[in-house]
């Protein structure tokens, strides 16, 4: 029988007239990797902040390993490790000093603390840089240490808020591999990202969030089914797209056209049949298509289908 590591019920957060989160419900099963996917400003960090007891919900409730965020915040905090979006380290302390300090904040002392610090240094591949000042570390090393701190007390649930933002591809690969490793070792991982491919690669379940609401929830396969067999075509043209957008919307087989930042995103039934018509319309309008990219249905397609906007924004 599956148990819930995290349960979220009707969670709201508003600041007066401004709603950051509007009635969010989802469950995270123990031992799975769950991703909250959405563009910047969707409300992902606000949800995490409420689950991590950093923000008090305006309404609703959440439980972590059975502990209420409202009534048992200490129980919640003991059960989880939080990897914040921003690197939260002391740059004038060494890696080991950082780990020692944060370990003490998690209540670790003496030999246990020493062993956990050693273990985490090894896990994040910083054993040989243990005495180095964090301020001298590369972005990837800081990200790894930032994650390592959340693992010191061996929590049941690890919450990661966009841990790969702003790092090079190699470090990103390294972090994704470690997330998978942690999950294989039994940890429940709650992961937020605006990178579709990370959610797709890591997650057992994915919730897509936009404007403070969950707009879709399921496995990757279940979510892709939402858009059926629609292909996604990304085009660029050599002039103002406004001239052709309405004409392309009228083409048979085109279900959606979104123009953003000089590119056009289209959802179509069959790209082989639709593409020639798109070229005809563009030529008729005196425009030239300069690039074309066709993608099979994926989470980007789902987001585009549900919101009319591209996920990257």
């Amino acid at each position: 029988m599956e148990t819930h590591a995290i349960q979220v019920q009707d969670l709201h957060k508003d600041y007066g007239e401004v709603y950051a989160v509007k009635g969010v419900d989802f469950n995270v099963y123990a031992g799975e990797t769950f991703s909250l996917l959405g563009p910047n400003g969707a409300g992902k960090t606000t949800v995490i902040s409420m689950i991590a007891c950093l923000l008090e919900p305006t309404k609703g409730e959440a439980w972590v390993m059975g502990h209420s965020v409202r009534k048992e915040p200490m129980g919640v905090k003991r059960a989880m490790g939080v990897v914040p979006q921003e690197i939260a380290l002391y740059e004038d302390l060494s890696a080991q000093e950082n780990l020692n300090f944060w370990g003490k904040m998690y209540g670790l002392r003496g030999q246990v603390l020493k062993e956990r610090v050693e273990g985490v240094l090894e896990l994040v591949a910083l054993t040989d840089r243990r005495d180095g000042r964090v301020g001298k570390f590369s972005g990837g090393m800081k990200r790894r240490l930032n994650i390592g701190i959340a693992l010191l007390h061996q929590p049941d649930v690890i919450i990661m808020d966009e841990p790969t933002v702003g790092i090079d591809p190699q470090s990103r690969r390294n972090i994704l591999d470690r997330v998978k490793l942690l999950n294989r070792q039994g940890a429940t991982v709650f992961y937020t990202t605006h990178y579709m491919e990370e959610a797709q690669e890591l997650s057992d379940h994915i919730a897509i969030m936009d404007h403070g609401e969950i707009i879709a929830y399921g496995t990757h396969e279940e979510l892709v089914q939402i858009v059926g067999q629609l292909d996604r075509i990304t085009l660029t043209i050599n002039a103002d797209s406004a001239q052709v957008v309405d004409q392309w919307r009228a083409v048979d087989g085109v279900s959606q056209v979104v123009a953003e930042d000089g590119t056009l995103e289209l959802l179509v039934d069959d790209s082989n049949l639709v593409l020639p018509r798109l070229f005809e319309v563009a030529t008729g309008a005196g425009l030239r298509i300069t690039s074309v990219e066709i993608q099979e249905p994926n989470l980007e397609t789902v987001f585009l289908h549900l919101t009319g906007r591209a996920l990257r924004d």
């Binding site: 007891c53 905090k77 002391y90 300090f101 998690y106």
Partner: protein, 426 residues
């Protein structure tokens, strides 16, 4: 335990900060060093140190006593101060009345008034009684009055020594049934004076119960006048920068909030009140560290006499509490670190300058009453006043008012600051 962990972590971070060493220790000590050179500190062991001539007002009220052949000890002292050997150091003016001499000091026409009491000779030559030779000095000056006090102490020592020598000789001869003639007593006294002259600076200040040089408590500091001046400057600098350290340490709360580490601490199983408490411990630990190091280092390098340990500990503790509480208070009013520049660099600098204005006016004569009160309108002024009293020889009794004010301000500022921070973070 976590409270201390947070405090110690921040203390380590402060110690590793070049900014902390620069502003916490470097600049205050550098400022004192500049004054040290300016006052000839380097050449203090060399010959030819030139001191400014000190105007001295002398009032000789001493009445000769017939039984001592109308010899006047007061006249001898007045002559001593006017003798050729001291003319490069002292510019002596005689007054008939003590009141006139004191007024000369008040008008800054004299740096010090030496008021010789009517019973001076009777006490010096007699076998009993007690009197006081008054030194009325400009409180802003230390070197000139210090020189005068040293000369007078030497004079009194010589008298006391001569008297003891004569008394011992008289008793010894009487015990053998021998009479002593007036010429012999004079010879004994002269021999003692010759010997005392040869021992020079080895003579200690007057120990006689009959005679004392009476100074107000705050003027009774012993030791090197240069160290006294440097001490006053050091105290002012220490107060000025301790307040900055209190504010800068409190600023780490804002820095941690902006850098994300405060939020991260809030995700650990640690109470927010403990976390904030730890940050406050940091502020106190850092200021304590600074004050202790500055006192110790300045004593070692410049020979500054900080006064008796117990009053000093009370004044220094009050300074630490006030500087830390003020830092917590003023930082709690700020929204972010971007506001610290104007507040720390502007408001606190002005307050610090006002607080140590009495130090700046040192040597400029007697300040008007308003200028004596001005420093006390800011917390820094009370701290400077407390340290000044301790360095001037004041005891716990003298510290009552400044310590009470500092303690009261500390409590108010601390709780207002804590309330503001709790409102924001807890």
């Amino acid at each position: 335990m976590k409270l201390l962990d947070i405090g110690l972590k921040d203390l380590v971070r402060s110690i590793r900060s070049a900014f902390f060493w620069m502003f916490g220790f470097g600049i205050p000590l550098l400022m004192v060093l500049i004054f040290y050179f300016a006052f000839g500190g380097l050449s203090s062991s060399d010959e030819g140190v030139s001191l400014p001539t000190t105007p001295v007002a002398v009032v000789n009220l001493d009445r000769p006593v017939p039984e001592f052949d109308d010899v006047s000890a007061g006249r001898m002292l007045a002559d001593l101060l006017s003798m050729d050997g001291f003319d490069q150091l002292l510019d002596v003016t005689s007054y008939d009345r003590a009141k006139d001499a004191r007024q000369a000091v008040d008008r800054q026409e004299a740096a010090v008034a030496v008021i010789i009491p009517p019973d001076f000779t009777a006490t010096v030559f007699g076998s009993s009684g007690q009197t006081a030779l008054e030194l009325y000095q400009d409180p802003t000056l230390t070197i000139g009055p210090g020189v005068v006090e040293g000369i007078i102490n030497q004079f009194l020592n010589a008298f006391v020594g001569s008297k003891i020598a004569v008394d011992v000789a008289t008793e010894a001869l009487s015990a053998r049934g021998l009479a002593i003639e007036p010429g012999q007593l004079e010879a004994i006294a002269d021999q003692y004076a010759e010997w005392a002259s040869s021992t020079g600076g080895d003579l200690q200040p007057s120990q006689t119960p009959h005679l004392e040089v009476r100074l107000p408590a705050e003027q009774a500091a012993e030791g090197d006048p240069l160290a006294d001046i440097l001490g006053a400057i050091m105290a002012g600098m220490m107060v000025f920068y301790a307040f900055f350290t209190g504010a800068a340490s409190s600023m780490t709360i804002l820095q941690e909030a902006e850098g994300g580490t405060l939020s991260r601490m809030f995700t650990t199983p640690t109470r927010r009140s403990t976390i904030l408490g730890g940050k406050f411990v940091t502020v106190f630990l850092t200021v304590i560290f600074q004050v202790v190091v500055l006192i110790a280092v300045s004593a070692l390098i410049f020979g500054i006499q900080w006064g008796d340990p117990v009053p000093l500990a009370v004044a220094a503790t009050s300074l630490v509490l006030l500087a830390a509480s003020f830092g917590i208070f003023i930082t709690s009013l700020l929204q972010g670190t971007q506001q610290t520049g104007i507040v720390y660099g502007g408001v606190m600098t002005v307050m610090g300058m006002i607080g140590m204005s009495q130090v700046f006016m040192m040597g400029a004569g007697t300040p008007p009453p308003a200028m004596e009160i001005l420093p006390l309108v800011v917390p820094q002024g009370w701290a400077v006043r407390a340290l000044d009293l301790v360095m001037g020889g004041g005891g716990l009794g003298n510290l009552l008012l400044p310590v009470a004010v500092m303690g009261g301000l500390s409590v108010i500022l601390f709780f207002v600051g804590v309330f503001q921070f709790r409102k924001r973070f807890v």
